[in-house]
């Protein structure tokens, strides 16, 4: 059967074969996972079960349950002083992944350019591409903590771009931005009239300073589509639940696409999410403390092994350099897997600037991390 040219031209993930290799290998210690190792807190799971028992198995409103939208509005107001109208400015989506797709389909006309800091999460470029836009990558460097510089953003924006896709704390580098760093970027956005799709799914996992949503900064609320969800903070990846907040016109446009393509997010997930917002914050704080400890352990252990590792400011990834081994990131990952059965994601999966680095997730039990470090040490000795 025919496949569209657009999809045929979409660059396939270069490391699909490596993923298959990992998935086919038994007894692997995995640092390759992009989701929390915690199971969803019991009170949230119990609420989901209860909603099923009560027979909540129908569609919901396209935008998502009104109670959930209200709860999100209330939460954002309380947490960040960020106010959105639950009727007009909030949309419940099937994870941030769907929200990204909707946002770009809603704002892009053919050929519109979207600036994407790189290394970047794997779906960003393709999602922009599929929506008819043109991804333009902004290379970042370890010396700057993998952050984009305001001047770099300004120079690229001046060449013509519709918007910026910002993700902080970032997957895979863990890079994030302080309020003053964000303000500088925001000034550039205002000056160059850039829209911003801001993926802040890791916001609660910010370790060295308080997270600031981009939309809270002066002049930004009307140009930001703010994306977040329940996957990382509440360990609810499998529920597939996210949200988008933004100017009413953009949210209406996104809702239009969402109602035709998705109809609504699962009601069970929405019920669980409502419970998470009502009384899940204690779990978030506890998980964050545990992640912080693991981050310290990983950064220190890797640096001791000579794998230079900057201190990631958020998310649950460390992004050490493997340049001392002389191997490409893919070769490093393959050999480490074959010789020591430790899985991680080669940097090159996240863009050319990430070559020479690997992503290790510390969303794994401390015992596993310890064992992984021992194995990596053995591996480096033999390499």
């Amino acid at each position: 059967m025919k496949v569209s040219k657009k999809v045929q031209e979409l660059a396939p993930s270069g490391i699909r074969a490596f993923f298959d290799l990992v998935l086919g290998m038994p007894d692997v210690i995995s640092l390759g996972v992009g989701e929390p190792d915690f199971v969803t807190p019991w009170h949230i799971r119990e609420k989901a079960i209860y909603s099923l028992e009560k027979g909540y198995t129908s569609y919901t409103s396209n935008k998502g349950m009104p109670e959930l939208r209200k709860a999100i509005a209330h939460f954002l107001e309380k947490r960040y002083g960020l106010s959105y109208d639950p009727e007009e400015e909030i949309l419940i989506t099937v994870g941030v992944s769907e929200a990204l797709d909707l946002a770009f389909r809603a704002i892009l006309d053919p050929g519109d350019k979207i600036l994407i800091p790189e290394p970047s999460y794997v779906s960003y470029g393709p999602v922009v591409d599929l929506a008819g836009g043109k991804p333009v990558y902004l290379k970042t460097h370890v010396d700057n903590g993998f952050k984009i510089a305001p001047r770099q953003l300004a120079e690229t924006a001046r060449k013509g771009a519709l918007g910026l896709l910002l993700n902080y704390p970032a997957n895979p580098t863990g890079a994030s931005y302080t309020k003053s760093e964000l303000q500088e970027l925001a000034n550039v956005c205002v000056k160059n009239d850039l829209m911003v799709v801001s993926d802040e799914i890791y916001d609660e996992l910010t370790y060295d300073f308080d997270h600031t949503p981009l939309a809270t900064l002066k002049g930004m609320k009307n140009r930001v589509v703010y994306l977040n969800g329940f996957s990382k903070a509440y360990a609810m990846t499998g529920f597939r639940l996210g949200w988008a907040c933004g100017p009413a016109a953009v949210i209406a446009a996104m809702t239009k696409i969402h109602q035709y393509t998705m109809l609504c997010a699962s009601i069970t997930g929405q019920m669980a999410a409502l419970e998470a917002l009502k009384s899940g914050f204690k779990d978030v704080v506890e998980m964050k403390r545990e992640y912080m400890r693991r981050r310290r352990f990983m950064v220190e252990s890797l640096n001791e092994l000579g794998m230079t590792c900057h201190n990631p400011e958020g998310a649950f990834y460390v992004f050490p350099s493997i340049q001392s081994t002389g191997l490409s990131s893919l070769d490093f990952a393959k050999k480490l897997l074959q010789k020591q059965r430790v899985a991680l994601v080669p940097g090159v999966a996240f863009g050319p600037s990430a070559e020479g680095f690997v992503r290790m997730s510390y969303a794994s039990a401390y015992e596993n991390l310890k064992e992984a470090i021992v194995r990596i040490k053995n591996f480096l000795k033999d390499t």
Partner: protein, 161 residues
């Protein structure tokens, strides 16, 4: 709670060096803090949570929860009576609680007979004990925050973005 205590409460076997790495403190400092907690009695003991159902013990034993109503003593209140009761080695835990009774004990013995004898001959006859209610334990599901049933291994994909 001090982060060092929080970590030790979950894993008593973790080394000071490891705690140092997890908390960003120096190992010598961690050792000193632990020693301080041991000396002043904050850290009472390092123990292991055992699932006795699986331990294949040759001599079986039983446990009972016992509610005890007592008359507090002038000047010394409940503490004096409690001490007389918890000093028996059969009493493995003892709590002063609010509600319809005063002390909640966990008592251990080789069999139902020995526990019954303890209640009948040691506990009930004490002059300040007004009454007791004994509940023999049938099964233990969770202890000190730890589920005793080994959790099924949850399947996450070994690699994802």
């Amino acid at each position: 709670m001090d982060e060092i205590l929080e970590i030790l409460a979950k894993d008593a076997r973790i080394s000071a060096e490891e705690i140092a790495k997890l908390t960003g403190k120096r190992a010598a400092q961690v050792k000193k803090t632990i020693k301080h907690y041991e000396d002043n009695g904050t850290i009472v003991q390092y123990k292991t949570v055992i699932n006795h159902d699986l331990a294949k013990e040759t001599n079986s034993f039983v446990r009972a929860l016992i509610e005890v109503s007592i008359t507090p003593q002038k000047d010394v209140g409940f503490d004096y009576v409690a001490e007389r009761i918890y000093s028996f080695p059969e009493v493995v835990s003892c709590y002063l609680v609010s509600g319809t009774y005063d002390l909640l004990l966990m008592v251990e013995g080789d069999n139902i007979q020995t526990v019954s004898n303890f209640v009948a001959s040691k506990l009930s006859p004490m002059e300040n004990v007004k009454g007791t209610t004994t509940h023999f334990m049938l099964k233990k599901y969770k202890e000190d925050g730890q589920m005793l049933k080994k959790a099924n291994n949850r399947k996450r994909l070994n690699i994802s973005y």
